[in-house]
């Protein structure tokens, strides 16, 4: 190819590229024009939903659905239409039917699961109001192949006080390999006021292969209305035996969460004697935060002994901090004594810092005394 021919070829190529580039946005705009208009209209309606302007949203959704009957946003709009109707206070039967029609019309929609869970919620309220047929609907969903739907149905059955709820949940738990599903089951178990459910929860806290689930089970176990001595014993056992520090710490936190200071004794015992320093450290911290002193089960001397006898620096520090947190400046004398006479300067310094933290007249007097002593 000679040079003129080469230049011509380059010019033709560049012109072609330029034309293609110039044409590209126009083409895209043409292709996306109608679609973008529909997207804009849907977004307008959805914004009204997010702002909870339900009447405006309902009107906007009607307009959208009149104009865009086959758009990819149509099922989205139809779902929100049902949702808005619930928010506008339409009867629950109508809301239920709305979702039912939605599922019939859009069986492949991504919104199908959500429509089903909303149907279950509406049916739950209708059943509570005495409409037995809706109760039967919720019952029929507790073995749904879709776990999300089945769990929603069990949650609804539990709220309805339906006796099928717990067996269905136990059944679902059997051989459930998915940790995320087991986490939901753990929450649901904690909602039942039943020894069987609690035993299963304790079983999960002890032996679930996932440490996350064991921790969650401990957490929800402690949130129950009636935590028994047996439950506390089970938590203590887990803190003593679980192989993971993280779970042991969850156990300490669970003990601190139990109402009426029932976990204080176990916490004090852990703070004094547990072989894991991390457990001792957290136990002494929560001991004070959770009212160990108000309950009368813990004395200042207990914490002072931990400061003086524990060999772990972090535990000592946590105990010093605990002294500063004791209500009514009860820890000030002990902190002042440590600040003046502890053999380690590090501990004396930290005790002074804690006195500063406590503040107040008594702590200030103690600090002035220490300064005077140092000056001599």
């Amino acid at each position: 190819m000679n040079s003129t021919g080469g230049l011509t070829a380059i010019a033709v190529f560049m012109l072609t590229v330029a034309l293609l580039l110039a044409g590209a946005p126009t083409l895209a705009a043409q292709e996306g024009g109608g679609a973008d208009e529909a997207a804009g209209a849907y977004e307008k309606a959805y914004n009204l939903i997010l702002d909870e302007r339900w009447e405006d949203a309902a009107g906007s959704l009607v307009s959208f659905l009149e104009k865009y009957t086959e758009d990819s946003w149509t099922d989205d709009a139809r779902f929100w239409q049902c949702y808005s109707r619930a928010q506008l206070g339409e009867s629950l039967e109508e809301v239920f039917s709305c979702y039912q029609r939605f599922i019939a019309e859009y069986p492949e929609s991504k919104w199908k699961d959500d429509a089903e869970t909303h149907m279950i919620a509406a049916a739950r309220e209708l059943a509570r109001a005495g409409n037995a047929e809706y109760g039967a609907f919720v019952e029929s969903k507790n073995k749904d192949a879709d776990k999300e739907v089945a769990l929603s149905a069990i949650l609804a059955l539990q709220a309805m006080g339906n006796e099928q709820a717990l067996p269905a949940l136990m059944n679902l738990l059997e051989n459930e390999p998915d940790a995320a599903a087991r986490e939901q089951i753990v929450f649901l178990l904690s909602r039942f006021d039943s020894p069987e459910a609690k035993a299963r929860l304790i079983g999960l806290a002890k032996a679930d292969p996932s440490s996350k689930i064991r921790g969650k089970a401990l957490f929800w176990l402690a949130q129950g209305d009636e935590v028994t001595a047996g439950d506390i014993q089970a938590i203590v056992e887990i803190v003593n035996t679980d192989s993971e520090t993280r779970v042991r710490e969850h156990g300490v936190f669970a003990l601190a969460q139990i109402e009426d200071h029932q976990g204080v004794e176990a916490l004090l015992n852990f703070a004094k004697t547990h072989n894991d320093p991390a457990v001792r450290e957290k136990a002494v911290f929560w001991l004070v935060q959770e009212g160990g002193f108000e309950s009368g089960s813990v004395q200042v001397a207990d914490i002072v002994n931990i400061v003086l006898k524990d060999s772990n620096r972090k535990v000592q520090q946590s105990a010093l901090f605990a002294l500063s947190q004791i209500p009514g400046e009860q820890g000030v004398d002990a902190l002042a004594e440590i600040a003046q006479s502890h053999p380690e300067s590090r501990m004396r310094k930290q005790a002074v810092n804690m006195l500063q933290r406590v503040g107040g007249e008594k702590a200030q007097e103690a600090l002035l005394k220490i300064i005077g002593q140092e000056a001599k």
Partner: protein, 259 residues
């Protein structure tokens, strides 16, 4: 990122950051609880080493304590505490600083006690929070990210509402902590990561950003947790004969916000 080109969004984001910075920590590890414990106790250690006197004002006390307690956060989007971390911090703050003195049993405006009035107010806010978070999440998890082409949604509104929710959650968590409402705190804390990610979906988001939020919501079963939170609130309301969503009083469908 969108906020680079949007001063209003940047200001709003900075405000959220300032608030959340007080409750954040290193986000590099996917499992936050362990990191939380490490950070918490290590910083407690530093705190004890340096020592700081108590402040007289509640707000200052709270700010000083929390900001001093936790390590600084790397500047990026998305880092938030795990539910467990938020829970423990929240409970500690609530117990330490927000538990009001006495007077809880005093009758007030038709409620059995001031305590009950406060509880119902906080629970109504929590119900509203769950309801709003659900509107955002439903819109995102059902967005079609598998079609291959560009998405047709802007997510601007979800981002805006997520920012509002993140603001709201800070105050709500403190109130729930003061009431030792650990269960609701746990559930609200679970939502934060995904809301933070959603708050930062700008105009230039990628499909993968949306997909990440979807997977996070799915993995953490967030819609179930919202339903769980509402179920807990409904139990409380039933026990105390309370209407959680006063907006629905006039329509007669008092369950509207619980569906």
């Amino acid at each position: 990122m969108h906020i680079k080109n949007c001063p209003a969004c940047a200001a709003s984001y900075a405000e959220i950051r300032r608030t959340l910075d007080a409750l954040q920590q290193d986000y590099t590890r996917p499992e936050m609880a362990e990191k939380y414990w490490d950070g918490y106790w290590n910083t407690l250690e530093q705190k004890i080493e340096t020592g700081q006197p108590r402040k007289s004002s509640l707000g200052r006390k709270l700010k000083e304590f929390v900001s001093g307690l936790l390590p600084p956060v790397p500047v990026s989007y998305g880092p938030v505490l795990s539910g467990a971390a938020l829970l423990v911090i929240g409970i500690f703050i609530g117990r330490t600083f927000l538990s009001g003195p006495g007077g809880a049993d005093r009758p007030v405006d038709g409620f059995a006690s001031l305590e009950q009035a406060r509880a119902e107010q906080v629970h109504a806010r929590a119900a509203n929070y769950f309801g709003k978070a659900k509107l955002v999440l439903l819109g995102i998890v059902n967005c079609d990210t598998e079609a291959g082409g560009p998405l047709r949604a802007s997510f601007e509104s979800q981002a805006r509402v997520s920012r509002q929710l993140l603001h709201e959650s800070v105050a709500l968590r403190q109130e729930l902590a003061a009431r030792n409402d650990a269960g609701l705190l746990e559930l609200i804390g679970e939502l934060e990561t995904v809301l933070m990610q959603t708050a930062n979906l700008g105009d230039d988001y990628r499909v993968v950003d949306v997909r990440m939020i979807q997977l996070g919501a799915e993995r953490k079963a967030l819609l179930f947790k919202i339903a769980a939170g509402k179920s807990m609130l409904a139990s409380y309301a039933a026990d105390n004969k309370v209407i959680l969503d006063p907006d629905h009083k006039s329509t007669g469908n008092t369950e509207g916000n619980l569906l």
